[in-house]
Homo-oligomer: 108 residues x 2
């Protein structure tokens, strides 16, 4: 679903990837990483979708919390598996959200 | 596919949305907006995926080109249709990409 984030500024990590064929434990690790990320200090939310390309955007309070999550041991192991098994290609972009706006039919 | 973007800094517009039921001209307009965006000055690339939630990230040279695209008349009309017909909910986040890294099995 759409993440509910605080007033900017905060950080977005845009992870775009192309998967290799087969699961090889990917779904399970993916679920675990969402669970683990959401327990980290500074985690604000996450959005995810996949067709030919997968996009996961996670939101963080500051650059410090982004860096801490990158250094998390279990996440590091998952990223190693990502390079060796699950992804044929990926790109990570770290961006500072400067402004945001939105629309919700239910609250009109 | 994964966008090929220049060395940061540049801008990302993260558009997250939930669709209403039915097409109502959405696919056609969506294709047209991708075509139109890619013709704009400052456009760097676009990535898109949709499951329950849709995520489209477009990349731009600077804030100026993001603003110009927002003011484009045909895009404005499409956004009005978005609010009235196609989306039950959306969120737009404008973010400055500060760093990026990636991986490609084919270039290892």
């Amino acid at each position: 679903m759409i993440a509910t984030t605080p007033r900017p500024p905060y950080y977005a990590v845009i992870f775009t990837s192309v998967r290799t064929d087969g699961d090889h434990g990917y779904q399970e690790m993916s679920r675990r990483m969402v669970e683990l990320a959401s327990q980290q200090d500074g985690f604000l939310g996450m959005e995810s979708a996949r067709n030919e390309v997968g996009i996961t955007v996670s939101y963080w309070r500051d650059l410090e919390s982004v860096k801490k999550w990158k250094e998390h041991m279990e996440h590091k192991i998952a990223r190693e598996m990502g390079r060796s098994v699950w992804y044929s290609k990926f790109r990570v972009r770290i961006a500072k959200v400067e402004s945001e706006y939105g629309f919700d039919k239910n609250t009109m």
